[in-house]
Structure formats: structure tokens, C-alpha cells
Symmetry: C2
Subunit: 402 residues, 2 copies
Amino acid sequence: MGGLTPDRLSRYRELRRELGREGLINLNPIQRGGILTPEARRALLEFGDGYSVCDWCPPKTPRLDRIERPPVADFLEDLAEFLNLKVARVVTRCREGKFIAFSSLASPGDCVVVDSLAHYSTYLAAELARLRVREVPHSGPPEFRISPQAYQETLERVRRETGKPPALVLLTHVDSFYGNLTEAEEVGKLCREWGVPFLLNAAYTAGVMPVDGRRLGADVLVSSGHKSWAASAPTGILALGEGVAERVLRRSEVRGDWSGRSFPEKETALLGCTVMGAPLATLMASFPHVVERVGRWEEEVRKVRYLVGELERIEGTRQLGERPKRHTLVQVESEGFYRVSQKHRRRGFFLYEELRERGIVGIQPGLTRHFKLNTYGLSWEEVKLVAESFLEIARKYGLGIT
Amino acid sequence: MGGLTPDRLSRYRELRRELGREGLINLNPIQRGGILTPEARRALLEFGDGYSVCDWCPPKTPRLDRIERPPVADFLEDLAEFLNLKVARVVTRCREGKFIAFSSLASPGDCVVVDSLAHYSTYLAAELARLRVREVPHSGPPEFRISPQAYQETLERVRRETGKPPALVLLTHVDSFYGNLTEAEEVGKLCREWGVPFLLNAAYTAGVMPVDGRRLGADVLVSSGHKSWAASAPTGILALGEGVAERVLRRSEVRGDWSGRSFPEKETALLGCTVMGAPLATLMASFPHVVERVGRWEEEVRKVRYLVGELERIEGTRQLGERPKRHTLVQVESEGFYRVSQKHRRRGFFLYEELRERGIVGIQPGLTRHFKLNTYGLSWEEVKLVAESFLEIARKYGLGIT
């Protein structure tokens, strides 16, 4: 402990988040849906202490999902209703939800089908569950679409390869690269025809846009509280349909060989309880806002389409992914800004710095040729300021504007 | 969604924690070490938004443990130094740390040896990793001691049963039933002799008392930020010795069969990143305080011994577990209060209610014959008030005081 001097430790005493300042417009693609509501900020302080939600855990059947003060039990019922599935749990991360589904519904060595735009954590969750991954191809540039037809073909390929259907099919409802929205309902139908459980990764959709798990045919729906439900990290949502709920939430069967201790009330894959404090409180406190905001999704899509239209006025600049946009996450390709960067003394950092000077952050520093942004929850005024700022920077560096 | 009316949703708008009020003395056995510092409360608000710590994630090798603003990378190094082990990670819960160790260091079907006072989540983590659990017996009432000798015997029993040593040995450093401190160093030596990895569950020790992982012979040390590090839930600590670090933190080897995508920088068992926000910020912000407070452990032990001495003045009342106490978590047995409860119109609830009237909470409502409490971090004044309150209640109901 010789090195842990007061001087060294002082770095932890005043942790500041430079980009969280009021007045900044943050376009970070993973952060727009996770900005807390005022209610959630109050809940954070109220439930900041460790195990704060456990004050009134029912002593005879202690389990997070049964706590009534604060109303965790009610919340999980309402959450399941909101997603139109049978039962819901809060887990520590969306990726933990995927791992839980993979390890409950498939066995080591099984094949699982995932779209080729899946988040990296989807691949890791399958790897940790010792499954083999088979990918559904996308259509390539510029739209990178994932089609239900490609799912059909991949299912057939797996059957040819292994002699049976995959153990599970996963679709990333909206992907993190292009913000493409894939036709989950058709993939859901296909899964039903094949008799394969369907896992919908709604990390970028549930909580910001309307998502009806039953209509989409999801057996398992996972989402991310800190990505799309105005909640603190780490919070994941795991919602289950009737056909799989019991298997995924199966109870513990272990028994101590000497003591005889057993825990038949505990849900094994959850390791008992999950988010026992502040982030769960933020998820609950923001829930009324989330229920309301998904009804305003069409307006969010109008804003992103407006911004894309303005950005595409810049020489050599286009939106990648499906057209027209149906989600607020965008990948932009700009040969124009890239050419500027090659002659600029700050190289690719010029774009970040020019935006930063205009109060706009969240574009990854250094990128110009391909960069991502997300307009979710910005006001029209902010979206217009973002558009004007990009146009202004383009003009400043001599790029043509149509 | 018919049921999600504004009226129904209003229950989530103002979440309040009745027992978090200032002025209350909270004896809840799992909560004393998880009360936030003022620094942590500030950090909560600063990093409340989802993915708030990811603003400056290094784009080329994005990983939580490599972030320098806020100083996550530094913190993990300091954390490893504090615990005197090679490398540390923050995971979502202590139990996740156990599962990660179990699934990395043992294979399905293997035997793992655990003390019979282990937390239920230890059993669940082993079950989820598909391991067989073999328990180390305790000495029974009234002390319920776990001895290194009993570990030796259990290791021999496993070798007789399976023809080989267990894949891993776990010791709960201080257990959650009696607050007994077991001689980890001797169990560590035994494990080294047997060539078996040693997992120390320091959920109730690291963060409140000095714990030197290397000296105790721990290959893996897990702890709970929300239990013992003045942090918000969910936060777990996973610290690793040289011999096992690489196996536990092995990198991803999965590869997309169509896209060729791979993630060789990601740590598979962590599913990539873990606590991407507020609770990690609280853990970091409280760390200087934690480093300082473990040096005051002896004073904490003096306080609990004082309280036990006073409680045992009450007719029919004794402390269970090892004597004298070496930890602040206590289980009390009181035939005296139990007899009172049998005639009281509020039955067992009278004790909780009498304490509540005196500003003391955290004893489980309804319990009198056996109840647990924790004095960690209470001032001498508060400990004396607790002692006086118990004596006053005993007198009120006619119990003798020696």
C-alpha cells in the first residue's frame, strides 16, 4: 500500500464529467436515450446507498422482484405489460440478458443464429455460453440491410450443416452501426414456423420507440436501461414470453451436501438478485416518462430526417444505412470532411474541435470520413443548431453546399 | 398498455426511502458498509446519465478498464495494489465475480469446495457454472466455526470421492450469519499445498478491514462495493493473483462465420464492459475514504464488543458465533425478548417497533429470538444509544438486567 498516498488518492475525490454540462448538445450515439429525467436524478440520491432498495425485502421469500416498497414488484409487472410479454426482470446489463437467454435456452455446442450487425456483446454472450455463432449476412454498402429472407437462408444453412434448426435466433432490432430497423415481426414469424425461440435485442428501440414484444413474436426481449430508458448504468431489461419464461427463470436446485441448504425460491440464471439499488430506482422513476415518450417517436424520426437532409447538402456527404431513416442513430460518410482533414494541421480532429467550439460534442474525436451521431430527444432548435453548425464548418473549409 | 394509466404510473414519480432519513440509526447487517460518502453522493449526480463514464473511452481499444477520464484505469491499478493482488476489475456484483471465477477455473461437472456458511449466491454461482458443491462443515452452535482442519478433511473427502482434488476452493472470509472471521491464511496455505486455486469471498471484509490478498494466499478475491466499499449497488470487485489472472480474464476468440468480425481485446467472462456509470463513480469517489477507514478497524471491533457486552446483560440473551467478536456483524439470540413477544399483542414486531420509536431501524421486523445487526461505522455515541435502548426495552418488559 506504499503507493496509495493521499496525493495519489486525491484524484478520486472530485470526479467531474466534462461533457455532462448543461448547454452542451451531446450527439453521442449511445448516450441520447440514457439521459436521466429529473425524477431519476432525485431517485439516485434517495437510493444511492448500497442495498437501499432492500429495506423491505420480504423476509420469508427474499427476492428483488418481490419488494413492494419501493414498488419493484409492481414495476416489473408494468414493464412486462409495457413490452406486451408475460414476465419481466431487471438484470445488470442487456448483454447479461442475452447470456441468460443463451445459457438457458441452448446447450454448449449448439448453434445460434445472429444478424451480422449484432453488438459485439452478443458474440461474447454466445461465446461465454459455449455456443457456435452463425451469422445472417447483410446487404452491404450503402444500406447494410438485414432481411427476413437472409434469416430464412441462414436457418436453412444451419440445418444443412448440423442436421437440425439452431437452438435460438437473435435479431438486433436496431443495430449500433447504421441505426437500421429490421422487420422483427417477419423474423418472429419465421422462428415460429421453425419452432425456434426468438430473442429480440431491443437495446436501441424499447424505451425510445413503441415495441410490442408479442406482436413481434419475441420469446425473449432484452433492452438496456442506460441506453434507452433514461436510467443509470448498469441496468438491463429481460422480458419473456409464456413459452420460455419458466426455462429462463428456472429455480435453483442445488443442495448443500453437508448442510442440506437449498434455495428453491431463487432464480439461478439471475444469481438471485441483480440491481439492488440506485440504477433500478432511476429506471423506475423514469418509467412514466418513458411510457409517454415512446408515443412521440414519429417526431423524433422527422428530426433525424431533417438533419440528414441538411448534412447531405454538404459536398461528398451521405447517410449510410437504410433510406429513409427510421431511427435516430445515424452513420454519416463524408468524403468532403475527410479531404479537409488531410490538409488540416489538426488532421481528423478539426471536425470535433469545430463542433466543440459551437457547443456540440459526442462525435468521436478524430473521425471525419465515417462518424455516428444520435439526435434522440434533441429539440427542433437543437437539431437546427447542429445542422447549421455542420454547414457552417463545411463552408469555412470551402466545401460546396447544394 | 391499457393499464398503464397516469394514475397507475404516478407511483414511480416520487420514490422515497423511508429508512434513509438522517438521524435514524440503521443497524441493517448488509447496509452499514455501503453507506455513501459525501464524495460518492456528488459523483452519483455527476455520472448519473447512462454511459456517462464512456465519454473518453479509447476508440481503438474500447474497454472500461482503459478509460483515463474519469481515472478508471488508475483506479483499477490502485485497487489491485490495495488488495495486494496483480490485477483488479469492477464487475456488477460479488456473485458475478464468483461465477466468473467458477466458470473460468473449473469445468462443468467439477467439484468445488465451499464453507457451509457461504452466501446463497455462492451456491447459485456454482450451480450456474454446472459445478458440484462440496461443503466444509462448521462446528455447530453456539460458535459455528469453520476451521482450516475441516477444509483439509473436505479436500480429502473430495479426493476419495472423485479421485482428484476439487477444481477450486472457496472461503467466505466473514460469513453473513454470525460474522465469524475464518483463518484465510491457513486455508490459503492448504490450497497451495494441494495445488488448487483459492477464491476468497471478502464481501464483508475488504473495504472495511485490512485485507492482504497475497498474504492470505488468495488467487481470486471477490468483494461487494455496495456491501463494504461505500458504493452504490450494483458493484462487485474481482481481484486476481498472477497464477490465474490470464485464465479468468481470457480474451474473446469468437469469430463471425460470415463477417469475420472478432473481438480479441474483449474479456469474455466480463462480456466486455461491466459497470458503465454511476455505481463505478461512487466506488472510485469513496476509495480514498475506504483506504483510510480500514486502518480504524480495531476501533470498530471495540465498539461491537462493547455492544455485545451490554446486550448480554439482558436476561436470556447471548451473542452467537465466535467469541470474542472480530467483526461488526452480530447474530443475537434472545430467549428473553422471545418470551416477551409471545405475550405481546404485536407479537415479534414489538422489538422492531420499540427500537423504531427510539430512532433505531434495521433489525428485521418480527424477529426476537434470533436477529442480526451490524455496528460498522456507528459513532461511540450511537453505539451507546443502541445499547441503552435495548436495555430500556428489556426493563420495560420486565426482563432482568445483570
